[in-house]
């Protein structure tokens, strides 16, 4: 498929899923009223439900999914590893640790994305160092390092929960971070996330050509004239920015970063200049739909969206692992 056509199709899919996301919710609102509320012509409660509760939630889901999709594409490209994604590599766990720590310290809400970014950057740097030992990255090293980092971050989070009185009073917030859920965010929080995701995606696009050269190994990339140290560092920072923004909004949402690049690479090809925007749109669509599923599966109760992505993503992960183990890339 031609990249332009694929991207246009993904854009339409995102718009459609966002529309579904705004139409469905805890309270039944007719399609006409939804349109009226969006246009500002509905009664006050309906307007509040659609514009202040449902729309921000759909936007948050789209941001989280898009950020994780792009982060997954970058990590898979950088590590030349089909199983890399922010969740599996422990990058999300590092970001969650940062978020929990900032909540524990009583930092204002807008500091959380920064703390999440710091945690994500630390973990992804460790992964990258480990992956380079011996000059080649193996699937196993990355996965094991991810498990270790996730366990470590989990242990510190538990320690914080038990040790900090302040945190104990905010148990729900911590639970939300660990379990992964999208919620209605304030306009300010969304604005910060939009700025981070947009900036990081533009940066990722600027790195796309250089990242393409990594497909044959870092040395080859270097011989092709790529400044690999700077490029690698940039990719790590962009990945951490995206993961941090996603985790600060929704906690630990698993496997989106793994599944989306995999699903889209056969369609749009491996060139990052196309893969990155495709993953942004595809990840956003996937998480908006997953969140919709989370809201209606057990209505009126809501599932955390992480449950849906885990249910879909884990079998997919095993499938990719089986193929990777057989040497089929």
């Amino acid at each position: 498929m031609r990249p332009a056509a694929a991207l246009a199709g993904l854009g339409v899919a995102l718009a459609g899923s966002a529309l579904l996301g705004v139409l469905a919710g805890a309270v039944a609102v007719g399609p006409g009223d939804v349109v009226a509320a969006l246009a500002g012509g509905a009664d006050a409660p309906t307007t509040a439900i659609i514009r202040e509760l449902r729309l921000p939630r759909v936007i948050a889901a789209a941001l989280v999914g898009g950020a994780l999709g792009v982060a997954g594409a970058l990590l898979q490209g950088l590590l030349r590893n089909p199983l890399a994604d922010p969740y599996v590599t422990g990058t999300s766990a590092g970001a969650a640790l940062g978020s929990v720590a900032s909540v524990a310290a009583g930092a204002p809400a807008l500091v959380t994305p920064l703390a999440a970014f710091a945690g994500a950057l630390a973990s992804v740097a460790v992964i990258w160092r480990l992956a380079r030992i011996g000059g080649r990255t193996t699937v196993l090293t990355v996965l094991l390092a991810g498990i270790v980092i996730s366990s470590f971050a989990g242990a510190v989070v538990t320690l914080l929960i038990v040790a900090s009185d302040r945190l104990a009073l905010r148990l729900r917030a911590v639970l939300d971070i660990l379990v992964g859920g999208v919620t209605s965010r304030s306009a300010a929080e969304l604005a910060v996330a939009i700025a981070i995701v947009a900036g990081a995606t533009v940066w990722a696009l600027a790195l796309a050509r250089r990242l393409d050269a990594y497909a044959f190994g870092e040395e080859t990339a270097a011989t092709l004239g790529v400044d690999t140290d700077r490029t690698t560092a940039s990719v790590l920072v962009v990945t951490a920015l995206l993961t941090g923004a996603a985790v600060a909004l929704s906690g630990l949402v698993s496997f989106v970063g793994l599944v989306i690049p995999h699903a889209l690479r056969p369609v749009v090809g491996a060139r990052h200049a196309v893969l990155v925007p495709a993953c942004l749109l595809g990840g956003a669509t996937a998480l908006v739909l997953a969140d919709l599923g989370a809201r209606i599966a057990l209505a009126p109760a809501e599932l955390p969206v992480g449950v849906i992505t885990g249910l879909v993503g884990a079998p997919f992960f095993l499938l990719v692992l089986a193929r990777a183990s057989r040497g089929v890339r």
């Binding site: 309270v27 409660p45 439900i49 148990l171 639970l175 919620t183 209605s184 965010r185 306009a187």
Partner: protein, 304 residues
Amino acid sequence: MRALFVAFAVLLSAACGPAPASIPAATPSASPSPAVVTDFQGRTVQLPRSVSRIVSIGASNTEFLFALGAGDRVVGVDDFSDEPPAALQKEKVGGVKVNLEKVTSLRPDLVVTIKFSDGTVERLAAGGAVVLVVDPQGLGDVARSATLIGQAVGADGKKLADDITKRLQAVRERSSAIAAKPRVFHEVDATDPAKPFTVGPGSFVHDLIELAGGVNVAARAGSPYPQLSAEELVRADPEVIVLADADYGVTPEQVASRPGWSGMAAVRSGRIHPISANLASRPGPRVGEAAEAYAKLLHPTVFR
């Protein structure tokens, strides 16, 4: 997980309030003959002839014991028992998890405890002490709790029960004369303001709201501590919001600034009131006081 959390939240909120005055203690009566009673878990319990060392697990149970004049015989309480202040001086036997070794070391001849789903009650009983499960949930359970605990410690629980019932009845009579019943949202926890925890049928606060002359917006919820979506809440449009989480730092200003909440009648008219979590989270001997406090919030011109 969610049910566990609610238990947590309720226990936590129970643990963190200021300390209002308590009901005067009833006079203990002469030691009655040993009796066999059925407790809140349906267990048949042979009460001891005399009780001199009591361990109390559950903030409401501790309040009952002190209100019945058995406070000086209490040798240990759980971490959430903060009322009356004298309870804070007692040995602690744990919170969400009861420390069985600690309980045993206090050599109680009676353990009054709330329900546990993890086998704590059975393990306590295996330890040799007489274990009486008293776990009031609704307002209707309060009189039975007072009577049962009174029987167990040889105090006049019936009189305490009657006093509480009379006090509740007085509020009910005054509020039932009021025609306008405001729609009430009682906030237990809104860490995620899109899905706040509230009270539903089966919880004593739900009973309190009705008794005080209000209509609970979560009256059709299927559980005592349900989560309500903010969408449903906006549609229900509460006229009064009562913050049982004010002790955690939630303020009316914060509530008004939450996404989507600004259009609610209670927010527009400024009828957002904090209530002491310590008073409004446990169905103990102070429920009469809680009912009066609630009625003042709902009908400030009638209840002064």
